[in-house]
Structure formats: structure tokens, C-alpha cells
Amino acid sequence: MNFMPWLLLAGLCAAAVASFAYLGLDLSGLTSGEGQRRMLEFVAAFFPPETSPAFLARVFKGSLQTLAISAVGTLLAAVFGVLAALPAGGRLGRMARGPARVGLNLLRSIPELVWAVLMVLAAGVGPFAGTLALAVHTTGVLGRLFAETLENSPPGPTAALRDSGGSAVASFLYGTLPVALPQFSSYTLYRWENNIRMATVLGFVGAGGLGQMLYVSLSLFKQSEAASVLIAMLVIVALVDLLSAWLRERLAG
């Protein structure tokens, strides 16, 4: 019998106990009578959700904006990702490969929300900041994936075009791109799915969309409005989840 999983499990339990001890969490608010009463009051304030047509129209616009942020951000990232993948995938010589990879790693390792804070500073509060934040982070992710695709794509067609006198650009466009394109688009779609989820929360730091509406409503103690926004978020995320699971099943089967 293999003891390794059990050993790891024990270690993880110890780490968890240590963490609780370090944080010294006071969760008595959840169990004491007074705390529970306050929690119930807090939750009760969210009902019923705001359903005035004017507000619902704003929620609808916010949802569209969230989708637009994710779509435009992902698309920009795909374009810049391809551009960055050329050096990172070793297409522009060995010298350019290292620095390009480091750059992409840097973009990727700073989370979207941190980018969003920076972009709000640079571009002002609003959906444009969120779009840029998603675009920058996703460029790092897609650039790396695209570079790997380029490195793994067969060199034959491009070499043949080059040998028969095609220019470097034309050989890339007609020799490499058609082979790599399906992989590119499937990576882009996968990231888009991720970014829709992300775009709903970027607004917490002022980057537009449903997140910003939620943040503002909560700050103004308008819990019933917040409830409507939350429901819209839930529907978007759940729909994306179900749709992608269904699509994946169809494509796999």
C-alpha cells in the first residue's frame, strides 16, 4: 500500500491547524445568538431584490458591458498574443526568445485585479480600464500558449514555401498560421470563458461592468439593488459554465 497520500494528507491537516492558530479567527459571530441575529438582518436586507424597470435596464446594460469588456479584452490579447508569440516562439531568432518569454511571464504573473488598479490610475475609472487590464494579463497567458503552439507546429509547410521563394511573412501566413489557427482559437475561447468570470469582478476596483454596480450599491447600503446585480452575475457565470461544459462534451463526443 502506498503511504505517500496519507502522509501528505496528515501534513496538510497540520498546516491547516497552524493556519487557524496563526490567524486567531474569531468566528463566534457566526455561532453566538447576537452574531446570528446580525447575520440574518444583513441577509434579510437583500430581499426582495430591486425589480424596477429602470434599474433592471441598468443591470442589463451592465451585463452587456461586462460581456463587452471580456470580449474586447480577450480579442486584444489574442492579437498581441500572436505578435508576442513570434519572438517568444523563436520565430525571430534565438536572441529574442528569452526576453520575450520573461516579458510574457511578467504580464501573466500579475493578477488581473492588480492590473485593473494600475489601469484605473492610468485610464481613469470605467470599463476601458477593465478592458486594458484583461488585455494585458491575457496577453501574457495567450502569448505563452501561442508560442508553445508555434514551437510544436510542423516546420515542413513553411520550409517548403520558403524554399520555393516565398517571403518570410507569406510563408508564415500560408505555411504556419493555418496549422496553428485551430489551436490558437481554442485557447482564445478558453481564456474568454475565464475572462467573462473575471470581468464581473474587476469593477470592485473601479473598472466598470457589473462589479462596479455591485460595489456602488453595497457602499450606498442599497442591498436590494445589490441583490439584483448579484443575481445577474450568478446567471452569467452559471450560463457560461453550463454552456462551456455542454460545448466541450459535444466537441469531445
Binding site: P5, W6, S19, L25, G29, P127, F128, Y215
Partner: protein
């Protein structure tokens, strides 16, 4: 022999142009909705602030006091992630047990409570979907208002959201291992729990532990930004330094964040390699 220019043209050029124009046409409302205007980036007033801020990123802030503060927040972030993940396992595991169809006794024959059991599975699925459909940082934003500023909100937020995700994936893992042992134990007349612990769990254990560790790694990344909504950890420090536009502090924190993610990544990869 030279090719006549007509044959060099790409026969698919026209359709491609059409598709391109169509895409731009579809994209146009999106650009409007996102208030897309690259010009604002180069507007002298805002760009001056941005450039000054970016310039102040170097040198890094390395005063002893600040480093101690960052060290404390880093530990807090790690503890938040670990505690949250542990609670998430406690939430996800039982839900996964309820949802797993393989453990259903009615599947092997008629039983008394089977309608009740089948009825219990649907709500449990609903709960899992609800838990994982609200992103962890939204939970944190809400919980900060209920529990006050600090790591407690982050721990619970991770526990809730990751509980939903773990529940779903545990269920998939339990359904994917060889089902014959479990079925044999059930058919021999044992209860579901013993069937699970002697039939399914030993087979699922490596993948179970591996996925839990992977989720912990994600939790580290998530808890680092929880501070943006007031839930403690490195994010709170980062938000503070950004508000004050002290670039040196921001770059130090970003560097620490980068190292933290790297370490969590390496640790999780090493542990998971031990399992194979």
C-alpha cells in the same frame, strides 16, 4: 519562368476580407460599451501622474519596518489560503458524497428511502452550483460587510467558493475510478459510507489529494488579492501603497507576490509529483 501576377493572388482573399469586416462590425458595439479610447492613456494630465508613479517603482522599498510588515502580510495570506482550503474540503467532501450516484443503494435494487435520496441529490447539486458560481472575491466583498474587515471574510469566502468547486470535482473523481469494488461491497449489504471508504476512497485518494493541493495553490493566488475588498493579506498592503502612490512599496509587494506564487507553484508541483 515567371508566374503571371493573377495566379499569385490568394483566392480566399475576398471572403477573408468580408469576414474581417463583419467581425469589426460586430465588435463595434463592444468598443462603444467599453468606452474604448486609447487616447486617454496619452492625455498629458493623466499620463504625467502615471509616468511619475511608474518611475517611483525603482528603487524598491527595503526599509526594515516595511519588510517586516510585508512579511507579516505574506504569512497572513498563506494562512488565509490554507485555512480557507481546509474549510472548503470540509464543505465539498460531504456534498460530493451526497451527489455521487455510485453510492446510491437504490441503483442496485429497490429500497425504501430511494425517492428521498434521489430528491436529496438535486438540491445538493444546486447548492454546489450556487457556491461555485459566485466568485470568491464577491463572497469576500459581502462577508467583509457582515464580519468586518480582516482575514475572516477571506477565509470564509475561499471556503464557500472552493467548497463548491471541490465538491464538483471530488464527485467527478469518485465517479471516474473503478466502480466494481464499491458495488461489490454495497451488494454484500453494507452501508454507503463503508462502501465509500473501503471501495472508492482508496482508489481515488491520489487524485483527491492532488486536486486539493492544486486548489490550495489557486487559493494562495486568490487570497493575495482579497485585500482589495478589505479582507486582509498582501492585497490590503498593496492597495494601501497604491492609494498613496508610493511606487517603491508597490514594486516590493509585487515582487514578494511573484515569489509567493512561484513558491506555491513549486511546492504544489513537488507534492503532486510525490503522489505519482
Amino acid at each position: 519562368m515567371s508566374t503571371p501576377p493573377a495566379e499569385r493572388r490568394d483566392p480566399a482573399a475576398l471572403p477573408r476580407l468580408f469576414i474581417g469586416l463583419l467581425a469589426i462590425g460586430l465588435l463595434w458595439p463592444g468598443l462603444r460599451l467599453t468606452e474604448f479610447s486609447p487616447a486617454t492613456l496619452f492625455d498629458p494630465r493623466s499620463s504625467e501622474v502615471t509616468v511619475r508613479f511608474l518611475r517611483s517603482f525603482f528603487p524598491l522599498e527595503t526599509s526594515r519596518e516595511f519588510l517586516r510588515l510585508v512579511g507579516k502580510s505574506t504569512l497572513e495570506t498563506l494562512a488565509m489560503a490554507t485555512a480557507g482550503s481546509a474549510l472548503a474540503v470540509l464543505i465539498g467532501f460531504p456534498l460530493a458524497l451526497i451527489v455521487t450516484r455510485r453510492l446510491s443503494i437504490s441503483a442496485i435494487g429497490p429500497t425504501r428511502g430511494h425517492r428521498l435520496a434521489a430528491g436529496g441529490r438535486m438540491p445538493a447539486r444546486g447548492v454546489l452550483l450556487l457556491l461555485r458560481s459566485v466568485p470568491e472575491i464577491v463572497w469576500a466583498l459581502l462577508l467583509v460587510r457582515a464580519l468586518g474587515l480582516g482575514p475572516a471574510a477571506a477565509v470564509l469566502a475561499i471556503a464557500i467558493n472552493y467548497g463548491g468547486m471541490l465538491g464538483k470535482v471530488y464527485h467527478e473523481i469518485f465517479e471516474s475510478v473503478d466502480g466494481l469494488p464499491t458495488r461489490a461491497i454495497l451488494e454484500a449489504g453494507s452501508g454507503r459510507l463503508s462502501a465509500f471508504f473501503y471501495g472508492t476512497f482508496p482508489l481515488a485518494l491520489p487524485e483527491f489529494v492532488s486536486y486539493s493541493i492544486y486548489r490550495w495553490e489557486c487559493a494562495v493566488r486568490a487570497s493575495a488579492v482579497m485585500g482589495f475588498v478589505g479582507a486582509g493579506g498582501l492585497g490590503q498592503q498593496l492597495e494601501l501603497s497604491m492609494r498613496m502612490l508610493s511606487g517603491g512599496e508597490v514594486s516590493t509587494i509585487l515582487l514578494v507576490f511573484f515569489l509567493l506564487v512561484l513558491v506555491a507553484d513549486g511546492l504544489s508541483a513537488a507534492m503532486r509529483r510525490m503522489l505519482v
